[in-house]
């Protein structure tokens, strides 16, 4: 009820009341705290951005190292596989498995083995009868030891003379 009535002919500039000064102080304090918080936030943001840059740089470096390792590991792996196959699927073993599929009148004329990530077989066979050759070819295609069987040139003149390529899988 008291209010701030003033009938002065020239109203004076009011002195700020303690409560007003208190509120002003609170306002200034809030401003300072807000400024500090803003500054801290900017510093945090800068640190976070720097961290992202560092992580990205580390990631790129790791990817580069990975690519380098992968590029180096490919022949190494191939060599390792080749070495493994040479030991576990030596030519006598391949030859024995192949011979096991041949009918009695089919004869292996020549054979070459290429050791890589797999064992490629290039063979030349002859047979007295077409039926025996077809039977061999059928056994070869059905054998779990061989795949990618591709009949090549063949000559049928009573008997059969043909080339065949295949891939030796070996026992798994």
């Amino acid at each position: 009820m008291r209010g701030d009535r003033d009938f002065s002919s020239r109203p004076r500039r009011r002195r700020p009341a303690p409560a007003d000064l208190g509120l002003l102080g609170v306002g200034l304090l809030t401003l300072v705290v807000a400024g500090y918080a803003t500054g801290t936030s900017w510093a945090d943001l800068k640190r976070a951005r720097q961290h992202v840059v560092d992580v990205r740089r580390q990631s790129e470096a790791a990817q580069a190292r990975l690519r380098a390792l992968e590029s180096r590991s490919a022949p190494t792996a191939a060599l390792a596989t080749q070495a493994l196959l040479s030991e576990e699927a030596a030519p006598p073993r391949v030859l024995a498995d192949l011979s096991g599929l041949m009918p009695a009148d089919v004869k292996l004329e020549s054979m070459s083995l290429t050791y890589g990530e797999a064992i490629a077989i290039q063979m030349q066979v002859s047979s007295r009868s077409a039926g025996s050759y077809d039977a061999f070819l059928q056994r070869l295609e059905g054998s779990p030891l061989f795949d990618d069987v591709v009949p090549g040139e063949e000559t049928r003149d009573g008997g059969v003379s043909a080339s065949i390529t295949a891939r030796y899988r070996g026992p798994r």
Partner: protein, 284 residues
């Protein structure tokens, strides 16, 4: 916070100048120091139109005397003008309207002087009501000039009846009818309340003499009846403040009329606090 600091009030009226330094919070004021300097009759004449300070030298001397006696005359003071210098109107302020501007709009056209000569301010009341008061600029300037010449640093100017009402209005009065009697040396004011709302505010010139108590009792009854406007009247609660309040209360008590002083205050006062209507400016 504001109410805890010491406030210095300097009040002028026809019979003299008084000052008090009041400290303490709202509701528990304490009068730290008090001073009074009498004025010879005619030195200051409260009037709404003519210059009030008739003999400026006497008034300035009295002002300087009380100011020096209270708080060493240092610091800002509230200068409180007497009853009888203002035109007062009770107004309902529409929502969203600035009360002081609305009061000027309503009061100024009816004044017996140019509207731009009016200094208008309000006492806010419950229920969106205000008690608006308009004082002629030349009247105010006369007081300001005397105070400045006396070395007073006037912080604000208030009117004794509004200062008194600002304190009386804070007192819970319920919904029963009540009348506040605010006495000045030359004029008096009657504020009638009903239903917890101020319904009527009237100003009268005082009638000196023994017959005043009876005349004033009839004025109180008439004012209370108008405020009740046909509602449940009953005897109003009556409170009185201002010069002569205690004598008035005693006279009414002798006639079997119940009334009470408007307030009391702690501290050393050479007079009863209820005799100082302007003290309400520190009690509110």
């Amino acid at each position: 916070m504001r109410a805890l600091r010491t406030r210095v009030l300097v009040a002028v009226d026809a019979s003299g100048v008084a000052a008090a330094a009041v400290s303490g919070g709202v509701g528990t004021p304490r009068v730290r120091s008090f001073a009074r300097a009498p004025l010879e009759p005619g030195a200051l004449v409260p009037d709404p139109l003519e210059a009030n300070v008739a003999r400026r030298g006497e008034v300035e001397a009295a002002l300087a005397q009380v100011a020096a006696a209270v708080e060493g005359g240092r610091g800002p003071v509230s200068l409180i003008l007497p009853d009888g210098v203002a035109r007062t109107v009770l107004l309902d302020v529409p929502a969203g309207v600035e009360a002081r501007e609305f009061a000027r709009y309503r009061v100024a056209p009816g004044l017996p002087y140019a509207p731009d000569e009016a200094l208008v301010d309000v006492l806010a009341l419950e229920g969106g009501r205000v008690l608006a008061a308009a004082v002629r600029r030349s009247v105010i300037e006369g007081y300001e000039a005397a105070a400045a010449a006396a070395g007073l640093e006037v912080d604000r100017l208030d009117l004794a009846p509004l200062a008194a009402l600002s304190a009386l209005a804070r007192d819970p009065r319920g919904t029963a009818p009540s009348v506040d009697v605010i006495l000045g040396d030359r004029a008096l004011s009657l504020a009638a309340w009903h239903g917890g709302v101020m319904r009527l505010f009237r100003t009268r010139l005082r009638e000196a003499g023994e017959a005043e108590a009876g005349w004033l009792a009839r004025e109180v009854d008439r004012t209370a009846a108008q405020a009740a406007s046909g509602g449940n009247g009953g005897p109003p609660r009556i409170r009185a403040v201002g010069p002569g309040a205690l004598a008035l209360l005693q006279a009414w008590e002798d006639e079997g009329r119940r009334a009470e002083p408007g307030w009391t205050a702690e501290g050393t006062l050479p007079v009863e606090a209820a005799e100082l209507a302007w003290l309400g400016g520190a009690l509110a």
